[in-house]
């Protein structure tokens, strides 16, 4: 049990190597790896839930010298989500990439991405985090460019530059911290960090770098083209997981490590940018002409919601109310992960079956691809934040926090964003329900459609109806 964390990193890494060396068996290797890793994530979750936060020292080397992995409630939840999303996307990808050379390029990168994600979520010190962040960025850029078209490559290049810039800024911050405090261990830092000339610029550098990577408005300009031109399973993982990894780091830094340093004004700045993201992202999604662009802008908006929590969490006194709000934040992030992945997979199916993803020409999709349309609808429910999705519970906590702390303006932003989200989702569904004489036989290819449907259902039903344990898990931290 205690060594589960290492499996979570080792298994995908081994899978990546296997896929690289045996291209013919790449798909099978990936699926097997995916299943095993998911089991490992489940076991880890069980362990954390029963025994509390886990620490694992690789090779028995203690902190300071060796690499230490740690898993608390939040990271475990994100690990499990990552596992489920990647597994589902892998199953879908096994039908998406039809040519051998495509597969041979795709699977190793794919599994490498997963490895770096897991490693990032398990890392307990700033330097390891920097390394995994860099690894994650590079593999993500490589995957995004797999589309091969000029637009995809251009967007990927931009993505690369932004990613590198973000990492550099992060590294600069890490350097400052190391110079100032001589340690990079998060737990230690959380105790010793004091507001002052070291912590201030360090936090500003690290945060601004991460904000660039997590595409917070107005630094989101790279995201829509990159996510919209990548292959569908890649888009799913980029939107659902990769940006969220950066967000996870922001969360860790602001709420754990730099908890003594942050101030209401800075938290309000994040909230303000979040509000901008919500409104601007939703507005652009509403205007989008292509489905994938819509989904990408929707990611921008959804990330904005997550940042709205910062001023609330800072204003709420430590206690049950704050825990509730933090749980809401986690719930919103998880729901978005599942929903966005499901949405991108469904869009991929539509794109392949219809040959395009222009929203205006989607009429009749509901007859043509009922299960896929249903997946879009379920994902849409979660994105809008309607019950019984997990996002509903998350937004409930957001609203409750806003009312509780008297910051009613976040309330207005949330509601406006939700309504805009409803508008862009139902614009799609309205076209899908539109009438066009299609041969009346539902095309259902199980391997293609089930992953999207299950991911969406996870977001819209399971998390909402059975999500209460999330709050319990979150109280487990280092």
């Amino acid at each position: 049990m205690a060594d589960t964390p290492i499996w979570l990193v080792a298994l995908p890494l081994a899978g990546a190597l296997a896929a690289l060396l045996l291209p013919r068996l790449a798909t099978a290797a990936a699926i097997v790896t995916g299943l095993l890793t998911t089991v490992a994530a489940g076991v880890l979750l069980f362990g954390v839930a029963t025994q509390g936060a886990l620490h694992y020292e690789i090779g028995g080397w203690t902190a300071g010298l060796g690499i230490m992995l740690r898993a608390d409630g939040l990271s475990t939840l994100l690990l499990l989500m990552t596992a489920l999303v990647v597994l589902a996307a892998s199953i879908y990808a096994s039908t998406y990439f039809r040519k051998t050379y495509e597969r041979a390029r795709f699977w190793p990168l794919w599994l490498l991405l997963w490895t770096s994600l897991n490693a990032l979520l398990l890392s307990g010190d700033l330097f390891n985090i920097y390394v995994t962040l860099e690894l994650l960025g590079l593999s993500a850029v490589a995957l995004a460019s797999l589309g091969g078209k000029r637009a995809a490559v251009e967007a990927a290049l931009r993505y690369l530059l932004v990613g590198l810039l973000g990492s550099m800024l992060f590294l600069a911050g890490v350097g400052l911290i190391y110079a100032g405090y001589g340690t990079l261990d998060l737990t230690v830092l959380a105790r010793v960090l004091e507001p002052g000339p070291v912590a201030w610029p360090a936090l500003a550098l690290m945060s601004s770098g991460l904000l660039l990577k997590t595409a917070l408005f107005p630094l989101h300009f790279w995201l829509p083209p990159a996510h919209a031109s990548a292959p569908a399973p890649v888009s799913a993982v980029l939107s659902a997981l990769v940006v969220k990894a950066a967000f996870y780091l922001v969360l860790r830094l602001w709420l754990d490590v730099f908890a003594n340093v942050i101030t209401p004004a800075s938290a309000n700045l994040l909230g303000l940018l979040g509000a901008g993201a919500v409104l601007w992202g939703s507005w652009q999604a509403l205007r989008a002409e292509r489905l994938k662009l819509l989904a990408a802008y929707s990611t921008v908006a959804q990330l904005g919601y997550l940042f709205l929590f910062f001023p609330l969490l800072l204003a709420l006194p430590a206690g049950p109310d704050r825990d509730l709000a933090a749980g809401g934040l986690a719930m919103l992030a998880l729901t978005h992960g599942f929903a966005k992945a499901g949405l991108f997979l469904a869009i991929g199916i539509i794109q392949q079956r219809c040959g395009h993803d222009t929203i205006r020409e989607l009429d009749g999709t509901a007859q043509h691809l009922p299960a896929t349309t249903f997946a879009i609808a379920l994902a849409g429910v979660a994105l809008v934040g309607l019950p019984p999705s997990g996002a509903f519970l998350g937004k409930w906590q957001l609203l409750a926090g806003a009312v509780d702390t008297g910051q009613w303006w976040w309330l207005v932003v949330t509601v406006a964003g939700s309504l805009l989200a409803a508008a862009y989702i139902f614009r799609v569904l309205g076209h899908a329900f539109g009438h066009r004489p299609y041969p009346n036989q539902p095309v259902t290819v199980a391997r293609e459609e089930w992953p999207a449907l299950l991911l969406s259902a996870m977001a819209a039903l399971v998390l909402g109806l059975a999500g209460a344990p999330v709050w319990g898990l979150l109280e487990i931290s280092t």
């Binding site: 936090l203 500003a204 945060s207 601004s208 800075s266 700045l269």
Partner: protein, 557 residues
């Protein structure tokens, strides 16, 4: 048994409704009023039934008033059904006619045995709405107009009554039983509502506008019960809801007296101006309802003699119901079978009866009425005499019109219809001798005689100086006001719609303009595409954010 008769009185007509399309439906319809008649003769006064699960708790019962009403109404319905069995035989839409006929019958008989306000209202409404079907039955433009006008007035009446009943019930903690409601008189506003609500049914002057046209178009058997039985439901309503004998209501009695006297005069004068027998009979009804209203007013105005007065008024109602019904049935015979001597004789007899000539039911009814007038109201005796005189003139003119109108003999009526009429005639002729004392039958000779004299003179004069009749007079009298009201309403509604539409389109325009300006404002924003963001701009934004972050961290210590 008694109980079942009270229930069956209104239930049987309803049960027969689904059979109205059957082949022998016309015969079956005849048995519908029988339980009511049986109940009137067999059920002891004072019996009551309570059906607490029905509607809001239904109470049925029979008192003296109800018994008389049940008797004459049942009789009229029976005769009319029998008559209709013959007269509607060739009608292609006889089923529809029978359905509404039975529904109206159920309503009429039901309201008579009802002993709580809600059941009464139920019967009253059922009857009121079903009559619409009877008036609209002939597929003519006139019938349509008449029916619509009738409906408007009826619904107005129903609404007034609904408010009145609710307010009255609220005075008594929501209990609607008559025994409770009659324990204290209604307040002034409720009183007014009751007077006008039932006044519409009774065709008080001013509220009568539905009546003449309706009488002009309704099929004969239906108009016989309408003018005979159903119109009296208004009177029964007054008797049920406004228990006379309370000093509080004296002033309202005076109001009713004035209204009644106006009705008598107006009905008589307007009737004399008519050119068709049906319209004339209609105005005659208005006049006679004036008599009933006067009687009711007297009962309210002199509480000490109220009980006697009510008996007289009810008797008068019974007399008028049967005679007026018979007159219409006779008129129907003339219209279809021609002026046979027997029919002429019958009509003359009925005309005398209505006028109140000695030895007829009219004389009996009028003498009872005169006898029960209180001390302070002797001037009403004179009024009744004038009424008798006027009625005589009216009847003379009626006979003249019937004689002049003649008939087409297009579709002669079968035996049932004639038998029905004869039965009614026989009962009218015999019943005063059964219940009256000798002196009561000799009243009224003088006014009737005077009336006959004057009529003869007029007839002679008319023979000497023929005048071209204009048939438009009537329309001008009755149609104008209603038409104007209707146009006014329609006009108002249309104008209202126009205003709503104008406001709407103004709003829409305004909205469009706002949208436009918003769009112009947002356009640069919406044109901007994130893909075009240059690296310089991106860098600037990043610097800004990082700087702000730093400032935020530092400043708010």
């Amino acid at each position: 048994m008694n109980i079942f008769l009270l229930i069956l009185a209104w239930l049987l007509p309803l049960v027969l409704v689904p059979l109205a399309g059957q082949r022998y439906a016309s015969r079956i319809t005849v048995i519908a009023p029988l339980p009511a008649l049986l109940a009137a003769s067999m059920v002891p006064v004072g019996s009551s039934v309570s059906l607490p699960w029905l509607l809001l708790g239904m109470e049925l019962g029979l008192d003296d008033t109800g018994r008389v009403f049940l008797f004459f109404s049942g009789l009229l319905w029976l005769v009319a059904s029998l008559y209709a069995a013959g007269s509607q035989a060739g009608d292609s839409k006889a089923t529809r006619f029978r359905i509404f006929f039975l529904l109206a019958m159920a309503g009429n008989l039901g309201l008579i045995v009802a002993m709580d306000a809600i059941s009464f209202y139920l019967g009253f409404t059922l009857m009121g709405l079903a009559v619409y079907g009877l008036i609209a039955h002939p597929a003519s433009q006139h019938a349509r107009q008449a029916a619509r006008r009738y409906l408007v007035w009826t619904i107005a009446g129903e609404m007034l009554l609904f408010v009145a009943v609710v307010m009255l019930a609220a005075q008594h903690n929501g209990i609607a039983s008559f025994s409770i409601l009659q324990s204290s008189p209604p307040g002034g506003f409720v009183m007014l509502l009751f007077l006008t609500g039932f006044g519409i049914k009774l065709a008080l002057p001013g509220l009568h506008l539905w009546l003449p046209q309706a009488y002009a178009v309704t099929p004969i058997p239906a108009v016989a019960v309408l003018s005979g039985a159903m119109i009296k439901a208004g009177l029964l309503g007054w008797l049920r809801f406004l228990p006379p004998g309370d000093a509080v209501l004296v002033n309202w009695g005076q109001v009713l007296l004035v209204t009644g006297i106006t009705g008598i005069c107006f009905g008589a004068i307007a009737g004399l101006l008519q050119h068709t027998p049906r319209l004339l009979l209609g105005y005659s009804s208005i006049s006679k309802m004036g008599v009933l209203t006067t009687g009711m007013g007297a009962a309210l105005a002199w509480p000490e003699t109220a009980q006697v007065m009510i008996v007289a008024v009810v008797m008068y109602a019974a007399h008028h119901a049967m005679v007026k019904g018979a007159l219409f049935l006779g008129l129907g015979l003339v219209e279809r079978n021609g002026l046979s001597p027997w029919v002429q004789a019958g009509l003359v007899f009925l005309a005398f009866a209505l006028a109140g000539a000695p030895l007829t039911s009219g004389a009996f009814a009028k003498s009872v009425l005169t006898a029960s007038l209180p001390q302070g109201a002797q001037y009403l005796v004179l009024l009744l005499a004038v009424s008798a005189f006027a009625t005589t003139l009216l009847m003379a003119r009626f006979l003249f019109l019937v004689w002049r109108q003649g008939s087409s003999k297009a579709s002669p009526l079968p035996a049932e219809s004639r038998i029905a009429w004869l039965i009614l005639l026989a009962i009218i002729a015999v019943f005063p001798f059964v219940i009256a004392e000798a002196g009561q039958l000799m009243a009224n000779a003088m006014p009737v005689l005077l009336g006959m004299l004057l009529s003869a003179l007029v007839l002679l004069a008319a023979g000497r100086f023929p005048v071209q009749a204009t048939s438009r007079t009537h329309r001008r009298v009755t149609g104008g006001l209603v038409l104007r009201c209707r146009f006014l309403t329609r006009d108002l509604l249309c104008r209202g719609a126009l205003v709503v539409e104008t406001v709407r389109s103004a709003l829409r325009n305004h909205y469009a303009r706002v949208q436009q300006s918003v769009e112009q404002l947002v356009l640069p924003l919406s044109r901007a595409s994130d893909a075009d963001i240059s690296w310089q701009l991106a860098g600037g934004l990043w610097l800004l954010i990082a700087g702000l972050l730093l400032t935020g961290l530092i400043l708010s210590i």
